[in-house]
Structures are given as C-alpha cells and as structure tokens.
Point group: D2
Chain length 357, copies 4
C-alpha cells in the first residue's frame, strides 16, 4: 500500500505529462495497492484541497501530450508564508491536506520557485521528491531539465524559418527567445540555428559591438544578419543602472522588450530594415521532443525508485548521463547561469558568433 500526491507548478513546459507517467508507471509496475492523488493547478490544489484520485488510465497515452493534465499555476515562493486574501495559512493548509490523505510522499514537478517551496515543505516535515522542470535549464544540481530540449527545437525552428526569408530580403532579423535571467535556451537555439549574434542576460552587450558585427558581415558580402536575443538581454549601459533607474527608463520606452530595443538600434545605426519575431509561449507548448521523453521516463522511473526506497527530500537529477538523487537543501534557491567564460561560449566565438561584448 502506497499513497502519493503529485502536482505540477510554475510556467508551463513540455514533458510534464511524460514525467508524471514515468513516476506512476514506475510505481504501478512494482507496488500493490498504489493510490495517486493529483492536485490541480499546482500548489493551489494542495492549499485548497482540490484533487482527484487518479487511475492508471489517466496516465495512458500522455507521453507525447504537451501541457499538464493537472493544470498549473504560479505561486510565488515569497508569499508562501503570507496568509491568502481570506486569511488562510497556506503552509499549514498544505500540510493538513497532505496528512488528511495520509500521503507517503508528495511528488512535485517544477522549476526554481517551485523547488524553493518544495524545500520549505520538506523542512516542514513532508516527504518530498522533486523533478526539475523548466525550459530555462537553470536548475542547479542537474545537467539538464526537462522542457529545455523541446524548447530549443521550437526556438530553433523559428530561427530556421527566418533564415530563408532573411537571406531573400537582406534584412536584419531579431528573434526573441525566452529567458529573463538565464541564457541557456538562447545560447543553444542560437548556436544550433546558426545565429550570427547571440545576446544573453549573463553577457551585457555593447551597442557598438553589435553594429560592428553587422557591418563585418556586410563587408563579407552577407546582406542579412540573424540575432538571437534572450528576453533578459541587457546593454552594458542599462546593466550599470540601479533597479529604480532602469525601471524609469523602461517606462519611457515605447517597446519595453529586448528584441524591439535591438531592432530600433539596428535601424537607426545601420539603415537596414530590422524585423522582430516573438515565438513567445509556443516555446513552452506542443509535444515534447524524443530527448525529453526519454529523459522524463528515466527521471520518473528514478523518482519511483526513490519513493520505494524512502529516499525523500531529494531532486531527481541527470548528472553525466546517470540519474541521481540530489538533496533539496543543497540546491534550493540556487540558479545555474551561463558562465561567460565557459567552453561552449568560447567554441561559439571561435566559429565567428558574436556575443556583442
């Protein structure tokens, strides 16, 4: 007899269903009398007791389906200790629902914020297993998160399509890739799709260097330039401002988005037409790629093992090609960002990609 709860929290992402299927298949194949309670819309379902007893039928055929059959919501970590608008103590409410159902373990799928709350619940005494979900790949302690490679495929497809049209029209094209704080997705999608300039939050750019890179291509007879820019890319000037100053500056700009800022810069300084594409939430949607599906089957299966072995309080990570349990207390609250001096950046620069610095 085993009773587990499961929830998906935070921004949407491919392969959430695949990961849940892995966990439940891993348990159902090996445990008699398994009960799985699915909480709806992330921590919200756990707080307000919105759940359903799921059957194996619920997990059948969902390996390739995008989204999450449980729904999701964003519940900021910093408000978790605050009462809600009706005075409900969220943490106590979550604990209460956990114990009411006599859960042996709560499986939580989510990104950095989700992980912090998962760790908080662990500190409060609940048995927690966390699976690292995010298209941003910014979770500390795992080589890769699920959703990352699926999102690369989408962003890369957008840049690929833009490539043909850019070449036909001799324009500068700017594709805005998701990532406010970290640039993994932009770095990989940009490298994979042959972007000429890649702008990351971790490497503040010089406007002059961007123009120089475009000019250099013109001189080499290449009429078009593709720029992959992360949502959180920032100029050196802006990076030097205080938070308050930056906020003021942004409010004055007609297009408070990185891609449009670059487009304006390019048109003003080079006279070349610049066009912006914003794949937006398509990067979080659709079927997970095969990589993510194999990854999630492995992570889910390893999570099932951890639960059966009662090794709680861990994130199931992928490290050097092997699944591994990593204590939540060691990783919660940490962010894995792109090191501007890392090997991959050097390799990309060597083949001529400019990072605007």
């Amino acid at each position: 007899m085993l009773r587990i709860g499961i929830l998906t929290s935070g921004g949407d992402c491919q392969a959430l269903n695949a990961a849940m299927r892995g966990v439940v298949k891993g348990l159902a194949t090996n445990v008699d009398n398994l009960e799985v309670y699915g909480f709806f819309n992330g921590y919200r379902g756990l707080i307000y007791g919105d759940y359903r007893l799921l059957t194996s039928r619920d997990f059948s055929g969902i390996l390739t389906r995008g989204g999450t059959i449980l729904g999701s919501s964003r519940q900021p970590f910093k408000l978790m200790r605050e009462p809600d608008e009706n005075g409900v103590n969220k943490v106590e409410s979550m604990k209460s629902n956990y114990y009411k159902l006599s859960l042996d373990c709560l499986v939580i799928l989510g990104g950095n914020g989700t992980q912090k709350t998962a760790n908080l619940l662990r500190e409060e005494g609940l048995n927690i297993i966390h699976l690292p979900k995010t298209i941003d790949n910014d979770i500390y302690g795992t080589d890769v998160t699920f959703g990352f490679y699926s999102a690369i495929d989408v962003a890369c497809d957008a840049i690929d399509r833009i490539h043909t049209t850019a070449a036909s029209h001799n324009r500068v094209f700017i594709v805005e890739v998701m990532g406010h704080k970290v640039g993994w997705l932009t770095l990989y999608a940009g490298t994979a799709s042959g972007a000429d300039i890649i702008l990351l939050p971790e490497i503040p750019y010089s406007e002059k260097k961007i123009i120089e890179a475009i000019d250099k291509r013109h001189k080499e007879g290449k009429g078009f330039t593709i720029i992959a820019v992360a949502e959180g890319a920032i100029s050196k000037e802006d990076a030097a401002l205080s938070k308050k100053e930056l906020k003021k500056k942004r409010e004055k700009e007609s297009h408070p988005s990185a891609a449009y800022r670059i487009a304006k810069l390019v048109e003003e300084k080079t006279g070349t037409e610049a066009r912006v594409t914003v794949p937006g939430h398509t990067q979080r949607g659709g079927s997970p790629c095969p990589y993510d599906r194999a990854l999630c089957t492995r992570l889910g299966s390893a999570a099932a093992k951890a639960i059966m072995d009662q090794k709680f309080g861990n994130m199931v990570a992928m490290v050097n090609g092997e699944t591994k349990l990593v204590p939540l207390e060691k990783v919660a609250g940490k962010l894995k960002t792109v090191d501007p001096e890392c090997q991959m950046i050097k390799e990309a620069k060597r083949v001529g990609i400019s990072f605007g610095n």
Copy 2:
C-alpha cells in the same frame, strides 16, 4: 533556342524555388538550347541589369528549400512610372534589359502588387507569364496561391503549441496571423487549429461579442480561449473612422497591433490573463509543405507549356483542380477577399467558432 528571364518579387514566401524549378525543368526537358536569365532581387534586377545566366545545376535540389535563390524586393506598383532617385525611368529600363537579352519571355513570380507591374509590362509589349505567389491567397482568378498552405502549417503549429499551454493555465491566448487586408490565412489556420474566436479584416468585430464568447466558454467550464487574429482585424468602431482619424487614434495607442489591442480589451473586461504570440515572418519561411511543392511543380510545368505554346500575357492559375491560363488584364488589380457570407464561414460558425460579429 529559347531565352527566358525569371524573377521573384514582393514579400518572401515558401515554394518560390519549387515553382522556378518547375518552370525550368519543364522547359529544359523539352527545349534544346534553353537559356535562363535570373534577375536578382525582383524588378530591381530587371531595372538595373543585375542578372546571371543560370544552369540546370542552379535549380537542382531546391524543391524543398525556402526563400528564393534570386532574392526579392518590394517595388511599389504606384512608383513604377516614377523615375528613381537618379532619374532612371524604371519601365524603359526594364524593357531595355528585356530586349538587350533578346528574351522570348519573362516569367514573374509574385503577389498582387507584382502582378500589376507584370500586367504593365505586358501592356508595354513584353511577353509575360505570371505565377501567383503569396501566403495571403488573395489573388483573383486562381483558387489557391503557392505559399498559402505552407503558411497555414506554420500558423497552425503555433496555435497548436499555444493550445496545450493555454489549457494548463486557464488563460486567453491571442495569436496574430499575417494578413493586413485579407483573412484567408487566419480563417484556415484558425479553423484547422480549433481556435475559439477568429477575427478577420473582412468582418469588423464587436468588442462586446468577443467578451460574450469568452464568457460563454467560462460558463461551459472551459477556462481558456484561443483567439486567432489577423494583422488587419478591426473593430466596428475603428472601421467607421476615416483613414485620418484612424491613423491619429493608432498613434496614441502604445501597441498599434491588432493582437495587443485584443489582449488589452480581454484583460480589462474579463480580468483573465491574456498572452500574445506573434509568429511573424516565420509564416513566410522554411521548407514549403508537400501541397505547395506539388502545386508549384504543376504550375511551373503549365507555365513551361504556355511559354512553348507562346501563350503570353497570362497568369498560370489552379482552378477546380486543373491548371489554367488566365489573362493578366482580367485579374490584375483585383483582390480576392473573404466573403463574410461564404460557405466556410457558415460552417465554422455552425461548429461554434465566433467571428466577433
């Protein structure tokens, strides 16, 4: 012995290469001593004598390649009779280059604007064959234009991806589909992807009706709504304004784009979070879909026959499943728009799709 010139003009589009391959293969297989002159960057190449003698090798392997090997540019029809900034008479210059190369025919691939100039050159005495290219499907006299179905695939893929994430988060998602004046692309992509609301330039929308459609879904227990909106979708109020008044109004708006206007409306009136996706020029790029490739092979082959039969002054159209020659003088300058009372609109309404009217 046959000498033809070929050029691609106007906005980029899939299957331009496939269509050119069709024409050249159709001629090369049947004509001895074929010479094909490719003019670069649309009419610009014809005006300024920028061309190259192409070999069959140039057309090998391009069936699936997006963009155009000849490059393109937009040359507004209304400026064609005007001299350029150096005083060059464009029409005379095009004629002069045509005769200098002793061309038997000039093959022109392009949309509505391109077609008008093609007809002008026909009136000036040149032998012209036109192929109907545009993702907008708005060319009069043909059932379908090439690029249209490829663009549907791209727009549809975007909406499909959004679907999963919309369902997980109970949001309203607005996807902006290309089309300033005509809504074919939005109509087909929206219908094919199961959009709940479709907004077209041809059917001015009532803001109230949009909100009602969203509310109706909420009442049916559906937390999310997908809106496919054409770039040129317009409210009844705005449609009633004069051009000048509308321009003034747009200048005051922070987001002068249809999708952002709808998003603002939804957030203000329903309180539901609304997110915008702009696939943009991805809708023009990448490999043509198989439909367009078969279509272009047929159109190209029929163009080759028209040239060999010396039936000039025609567009090669697809009508009721058969290729057909349609006199340019009968179609140039006409636009094929969506009739709000057409069968497909009625069928879409019958399955519950709202057109906001």
Copy 3:
C-alpha cells in the same frame, strides 16, 4: 431532441477524430438534447451492440489526435449478407440496434468498402450520412478524401529524407507508398518530393523504360535515382497474366512486394546498389495535417447541417472547394482511379518524371 449513432470503419487514417468532432460540435451547438452513441470498432460495434453514450467532453481536444477514439475494424462488404460464425444475421442485427436506440441518423466514416455497406443500410431503410475517409483518395464523387493530404506529408517526408542519403551515396532508392489499386498517394507524394520515377497501379510499367530512365540520369551526371512505387504497381508482363497465373508467380518470388521487385530489377540490370524503404502504416498514423483538419471541420459541419435538414442517404463531399451532398446510391461501389492521360500526369512528365511507360 436528436439521437445519432456514429462509427468509424475500415483501415485507420488521420483526421477521423477531427471529422467526428466536426459533426458533434456542429450538432451540439445547434440542437438541444443531443444524444450521441458511439459504436466501437466499426460495424462490429453496431452488429454486436457494443456502444457508449458519448458526451461533448469525449470530443474535446481530439482535433489533432490521430487514430479514432471509437476504434475500427475491417468488415468486408461481400460478407455482410452472410451470417457470422455463430449464425448471427449481421444486417438484421445492425438494424435492430439502430431501432433499439431510436436513432435519427447513423453517421458512418469510412472508405470504399465502408461506403458500400453504408449504402446497403440506406437501402434497408436507415438514415445514413457518410463521410469520405481514406488515405487513398479513391472515393468517387468527392475531389478529396480526408487522410489523403496527411498521408502525403508522411510519404513525402520519407522520400525527402531518402533524398539526402541517396545523393551522398549514389544509389537507387525505392520507396513503397501505400495504394494497392489506386496511385493518387504515390502520384502526389512522388511529385511533391521530386521523385525521378513514379510507378502507379494504373500505369503498368516496362522494365526496360525504368532502366532507361536510370541510365539517362547517370549520363546527365546524376548518380542517384529515387523511385516512388505504389504497393500495387505492376509490370506490363504481370498485368497481362490471369489472376491465377499471377498468384502462382508471386508465390515463387522471395519478396512479393512491388518495391523489392523493382530493387531486384535495378540491381541486376544496372549494377547500382538499390535500397528499399517501406514507411508502411506510418502513412496512416499521427496527427492530421492542417489541411485535413480544416477539411474535416467543414465536412463535419456540413454533415451536421444535413442531419438537421434530414437530408439522409448522402455522402458529404468536397467539390470545387465547396461541401456538397452526394447521394450514396450514385457513388457506392465506384472507384476513382488515376487517368493515365490526366493533366497532372502530363505535367509531371513534362518536368522529366518517368512513369515507366
């Protein structure tokens, strides 16, 4: 109050779910107290009373899903009048189940064989609406069947992938495309993917002509050749045999499949390595393409209208871009084959494609 039954019969195909969704949405939006009974596994469910009352929830989210939520089976028309192994009279049993549920109409999705049984049930007095499903596009009375364009996409993707590897290795590649009696799928997929030789059931091939076409390419410096061959392609010699003689001959062959026969021929006569690819049932599976989804939404919506208008005994067809009701008695039992002299064949030949004749 309206009660309808629905079933999907025959070989699997994309967009069956999309078509059913169209019918049910079309009715549910316009009819109060709609009851939809889904019969499982084709006519088998109707014969043996295996059905379930479906809700609109069953049809939600299935627009893009391959396969059929009702299951399918093949029930040969010629055995319909025969009792089954337990002596059950199939036709009477189907009528009995129809009347027991007081159905107003039975909606049947299927191909040629299915259509014949649908017509038989019409003759027996049932109210029937038929939707034309098949990847073969061989249903008489409609320009296109659903599944056809999705299957083209799959077959075309296979040939596209083969193209790159064929070019790298200077081999002859033979891709076997589905179609025992008709060649529409092979014709379109082959044309769209730039196959060099296309072999159809309707055009018996000369082995000599195939070898000549390969040799011609070699002489032109093209080391590889792609052959798209329909399952039912046949040599002139074999086409001249009686059914009995042909059966005997096939039994002696080690690979009784068209593609392998061509491969053997090529290797023996040209010395070039030949490789066979059999996409097989992948051509029937996966998500329907946007074309088919828009088509099925239209056909389904038109079927709903026909039911509400009580215009029974019809197939819902697509003719010249408009949906249309076609009496079953006029089309049942007829097959739409490729006319060897049709415009598209001529166009394909003009661009250099050989049909081996």
Copy 4:
C-alpha cells in the same frame, strides 16, 4: 597559412555538413590563408586523388542540410592494406595525395570502421583529426556521436505514428530500428516513444517472454502492443548457434530480417495480426535535429582548435558536457555496446518495458 584536407566516410548520417561547417568556420575565423581540400566519396577520393579546393561559400547555408556535400562511400578497413583491382596500393596512394597537397592535417568524419582507417593513417605518420559520426552511438570514448539524436527523432516519429493506428485496430506492430550490432538507437527511440517491448542485439530474447509480455497487456485490457526491434536483435536459440549454422538457418527463412521473424512468431503464437514497419534509411536522412547541430558546431570548433594547437592523432569527443581530445590509438577498434545491466535498462524495466529476457 594552413592547408587541411577533409572527407566523410561510411554510412550516411545527419549533421555531417554541420560538423564540416564547424571545423571550417572555426579555422576561417582565426587563420589567414586557409586552404581546404575536400576529398569526394570518402577514402576513395583520397586514394584516387578526387578532390576540390573549397571556399567558405561551399560551407555557407549547409548547417541544416542532410547528407554530405562531399559524398561518402564504404571502404572496409580490412581491405585497406590490400591492393585494389588495378593493383593500386591504397595506403601509399592516400599518403602520396596527402603529401602532394602539402596538407597540415586531414580531418576525417566517420564511424567505427572509418576510425580504424584514420588510426592507420595516423600510424603511417599523417596528422589526423577524427570526428565521431554515426547514428549508432557506438563509438568508444565519447558520450555521444552526431547523427544519433537525429536518428532517434526519425525512429521515434515512426513509432509515434504507428501508436495511433495500433490503438485503433488492436494489433501488434513491429518497428525495425537500425542497429546491427548495438542497440542504443532502439533503446532510446523505444523508450522515448513508449514501446512496450524493446529487443536489442545485446540482450538475446526468449520467444516465450515476448509472448508473455503481449498476453500480459491483453489481460490488462490493452489490445495492442508496440515492439521496437533492432535490426540485429536475436533469439537466445539463434545466439547459441555457430556463425555457419546461423547463416544456413537464415537462408531458409523467407524473411531474413528481425522484424519479420518477430511478426511471424507473434501471429503464430497469439493469433493477433502483426504488422511490420521498416523506416530504413530515412533514419539517416533529412535535416539534423537542433541537438546535433549544436553538438557539431561545438565538435567542429574544438577540432579547429586542435588543428591550430597541432594536437593531432585525436578524436574530438563529447564527455560529460565538454568537448575533449581522445587519442585515436586508445579508442580505434573498440565498440561501445549497451550493457544489459546499465542504469537506463533498469529504469526502462521499472516502468514496465519488456526486453524479452
């Protein structure tokens, strides 16, 4: 001044062009007076002096293109020391052409066999850099080879499509995945696509266990079963035979291919219809997936660095997320096979996948 030669050898594979582009871009960006000689059709071009001086234009736009712009051929390692049919000493001829062009380094892209010859040329004194190409992922000393993840995508797509049709018809479907000696591709594609049974060359299967696994699914109410079988999968009985005995046995079988053997077994023992799909060479063709393109840009860039640093005699590997030089003498001739006791196999078994053992 730097002169390099480059060649692609062995079975075709995605991302060969991407890898070459990486090497040449990495060098061209950093070296003045670079000369790149491309040898055609693998070692054959090096042996017979069939090459061309390439320009950076040749490497432009090939990042996403399948196949190899240089062509390839299989040149068995064991025949390398043998004279050819005209008495030409192959090794001496390769050395002679290398020195004639005063090459500083020869870059060789290929799999295991290619690597052995690369190592032989290294032993003969040539400066060699090897890049690990194969869809089989069986090269010792690197975590991953390029082509592997692209091939997974293709095989996985085939199984995904089969899934919908299998579910509709209650059949057993057998998909034959490439891999004669190693099962990595089948293991990953099977896991990623939710195959129920996976058969690998490294784990001889028991026919009884396969039937038991199918029966178990039937008892659980699942009417269909998907089997992913590697080309080289073998039964325990056959694995116990001598090479000679096995060859004899195969010759008697009508379908000497793993998938057809399994199909026959299933039909005979379960009475369920079994269908075979053979994606074949499609697994080697088409555009590389984004993963492979980023990988190849990195490997190519690292190869360029190795050449500039004069670190010859190495394979450029990817180990734990970093590129790394691995001496050819340490890895040539070794094969990386699937360990039946490895973590991933255990994880797959835990979620209910049967390996037939």
